[in-house]
Symmetry: C2
Subunit: 343 residues, 2 copies
DNA sequence: ATTGACGGTTGAAACGTTTCAATTGTACAA
DNA sequence: TTGTACAATTGAAACGTTTCAACCGTCAAT
C-alpha cells in the first residue's frame, strides 16, 4: 500500500502539501502543484489509511448500531430489516460506514467497552428495554447516542426516534369502533418495551373516550415474539357465548398472525365473526388470508431520521435533543369487518 | 478518555509494561505489577483506542460486507437477512465487528477505495454478478476476500461459499418427475447471476437424464426480483390446451409466489392443475396458500462458513481457497401434486 | 529602501497504541 | 570475584495521517 509519504516523494512536495490538496482544505495551493499531487496519487493508487486519519482527527467516519439482543436473532426480523433499510440509505448519503456489533448490549459495562474503543463516532441503540437507569448511564457516557424505537425522558441529553405508538393505537381503536365493535381484546407486547405499554394504554383510553371500556380480562400479556398470541386467542375464543370479544387489537403483526391462525384452527371466521388489527405492517401482513388490517410504522423513515439526528449530534450542531415521533397509518385490508349481528 | 499513558502514570510503571499486561503477552511480569496495572486500568475505566491499536498492529478487528447493489435495497431481502444471521453469529464468535458499506460495490475502482482504507481486515462479497474480470481484479488486490453466493474459477486465490445450486435444481426435477410431470417450465433468475445459470442448466440436465426435455419456449427469463414471474406465468397458462406445462420450477421463491398469484388470478388451481416449486425457502414460502414446495438453502450456515473462511484467510493459515458448496434440501409443502389426469 | 501582506510551502509535532532492543537487577555457577 | 543467565522493566521508534506555526519569496504600498 502506498502511503502519503510515497505520494509526497513521487510528486516532489512535502506531505503537508499532499494532505492539503487531497483533503482540499481552503489552504492556498498552486494549480500546478495540485495537479502534480493528484496525478502522483492516482499513479500510486493511493488510499488514505482510515485508522491513521481517524487517530488524529478523532473521528472514524462510522456509525455504530447496537441491538437489544443478539444481532443474529434480530437479523431475521422484518422489523429490523425495514429499519436498516432507512439507516443504510441515510448512511450512504452521509458517507458514513456502519458498524454492527454482533454482541448484544446488555450491561452498561459491556456497551461502554464497545463505545470506548472509539471505532465509531456515535451509536444507534435499537429498541432498548424501557429501563431508565441503564439508558441514563449510557447517555451519561458523553457519547453521541440516538435511541430508536424508544422514548427518552426529557432532560437526558439524548435523542430518540419512534413511531407515535399512542396515535397508532388510537387509529386502531377508532377503526374498530367505527365498524361497530363494542367488546374488544388486546394482545399486549413485551412488558419491558415502552412501546407495548404505550400501545396498550392509548388503546384503552381511546376506547374509554367513546364510552367503551377495555376489561382487564380482555388484555392478554404476550411478547412481540408472537407465539403466545396463539394460545391467548384460543382461550379468548373458547369463552362462553357473549363473553368473547368481537375484535382483537394485537400489539404487533406477529401476534396478529398468530391470532389469525388460532381463529382458523378454532373454526372462527375472520373477519366475519372476529376482526383482527395488527401493528407494524410487516411484509407477512399482506400475505395472510385474509390479509391483515394493520397500523403501518414508517420504519425506513424512522431509520433515516435516526441517522440524521445522530449525524447532527456528532457534528455538535444538533438542535436540542428530543423525542421524534413519526406518524403511523391505518392500512385497511381484509381482517376487519363489522361485528356479527347475533348480538 | 483515559489513555494508556494515564494508566502508566497511575500505576507507576512504563507504558510498555501496561501494554504487556493488558494484552497479556507471554512477556514475564511480576504478579504485583500486574495487579497494580489492572486496578489502575479499572479505576480509570481505560479502553484501548481501536484506531491507534489498529494502526500499529495493521489489523482492525473488523470484517466488511459488500453488497451487489445498494445495501438499502438489499436490507429488506429475507435472503440477505438469513445470510446476515449466520454472519453475525460467526462474527460474534470470532469477536469481530462487522462493517456495512452502504454504497454498492460496482466498479473495481470504487470497491478498491473501500478496501484500501484498511478499515476492515477482509471482505465478504455478497452475490456478485458472475463477471470474471471484475472478480479477478478484486481478488488481485491482495486483500482477503470471500465471495458468498458465487463460485470463483479455481486458480484465483479467493474462496467462495454457496449452496449447491445444481443439486438443488436436481432435487426439484426429481420431485416433479416422481410426481409424474412430463411437461415443465422454468422461470429463470437474473442472467448475470451465476446461480441462475446453474439452476437452469442443472434442471435441464436432470430432466434430460430421465428422457424429458425442457423446451426452449418453456424457459422464461425473469429476475430474482420476482415481479416478472407474474406475466410469464399468465402467458404460460394462456396457451392452448395441451401446450401448457403442468409444473413450474421457479428460480427463487419470489418468482414462485408471483407464479402462484398469477395462477390464482387465472383461475388455475394449484396444485390441482399446476404444480409450483420455488427455491430458497424464504419466510414467505410457508405463508402462501397453498404453502410453497421449495428448495431450502442453508443460508445461515453459508454465512457462518463464509466468516470462518475469511477469518482463516486473514490469519493467513487458511486451507487452499476453494469453492464451498453446501447441500440444499427439498421441502415439500402444498404447491406440488401429480399432474391432472386430463392427458 | 523598508515594511507589510500574503500566496505557497514546509517540517515537525501530535494522535494512542504496540513492539523490540536495551537496560537493570538478581541469582547462580565457575 | 567475575561472568553468565535470566526475569522484569523501560524507553523510544514505529504505524500513517492531519494540522499548525514558521518560513520564504514576491509584490505593493509607504
Amino acid at each position: 500500500m502506498a502511503t502519503i509519504r510515497d505520494v509526497a516523494r513521487e510528486s516532489g512536495v512535502s506531505v503537508g502539501t499532499v494532505s492539503n490538496v487531497l483533503n482540499n482544505r481552503n489552504e492556498p495551493v498552486r494549480a500546478e502543484t495540485r495537479q502534480k499531487v493528484l496525478s502522483a496519487a492516482r499513479l500510486l493508487n493511493y488510499q488514505p489509511n482510515a485508522m491513521a486519519r481517524g487517530l488524529v482527527r478523532r473521528k472514524s467516519g462510522a456509525l455504530g448500531i447496537l441491538f437489544h439482543t443478539t444481532a443474529a436473532a434480530v437479523a431475521l426480523d422484518p422489523y429490523t430489516s425495514a429499519l436498516l433499510q432507512g439507516i443504510l440509505r441515510a448512511a450512504a448519503e452521509a458517507r458514513q460506514a456502519l458498524v454492527l456489533y454482533p454482541e448484544p448490549w446488555r450491561s452498561v459495562a459491556a456497551s461502554a467497552s464497545l463505545v470506548g474503543d472509539r471505532r465509531v463516532d456515535g451509536m444507534l441503540v435499537i429498541a432498548p428495554a424501557a429501563d431508565d437507569a441503564t439508558l441514563a448511564a449510557l447517555t451519561g457516557l458523553g457519547f453521541p447516542l440516538v435511541f430508536v424505537s424508544a422514548t427518552v425522558p426529557t432532560g437526558t441529553g439524548a435523542a430518540a426516534v419512534d413511531v407515535d405508538n399512542e396515535q397508532g393505537a388510537r387509529l386502531a381503536a377508532e377503526h374498530l369502533l367505527a365498524l361497530g365493535h363494542r367488546r374488544m381484546a388486546h394482545l399486549r407486547g413485551d412488558h419491558h418495551q415502552a412501546s407495548a405499554l404505550q400501545r396498550e394504554s392509548a388503546f384503552r383510553e381511546a376506547l374509554a373516550g367513546s364510552g367503551v371500556s377495555l376489561r382487564e380480562e380482555d388484555v392478554l400479556s404476550c411478547t412481540y415474539q408472537g407465539t403466545e398470541g396463539y394460545d391467548a386467542t384460543r382461550a379468548l375464543l373458547a369463552r362462553p357465548e357473549g363473553e368473547a370479544p368481537t375484535a382483537i387489537f394485537a400489539a404487533n403483526d406477529r401476534l396478529a398472525v398468530a391470532a389469525l391462525q388460532a381463529a382458523r384452527d378454532a373454526g372462527v371466521e375472520v373477519p366475519g365473526r372476529l376482526s383482527i388489527v395488527g401493528f407494524d405492517d410487516a411484509p407477512a401482513a399482506s400475505l395472510t388470508t385474509p390479509a391483515l388490517t394493520t397500523i403501518r410504522q414508517p420504519l425506513p423513515q424512522i431509520g433515516e431520521t435516526a441517522v440524521r439526528l445522530l449525524s447532527q449530534a456528532i457534528q455538535g450542531d444538533g438542535p436540542a435533543p428530543a423525542n421524534h415521533l413519526l406518524a403511523p397509518e391505518l392500512v385497511v385490508r381484509g381482517s376487519t369487518a363489522p361485528p356479527p349481528l347475533t348480538a
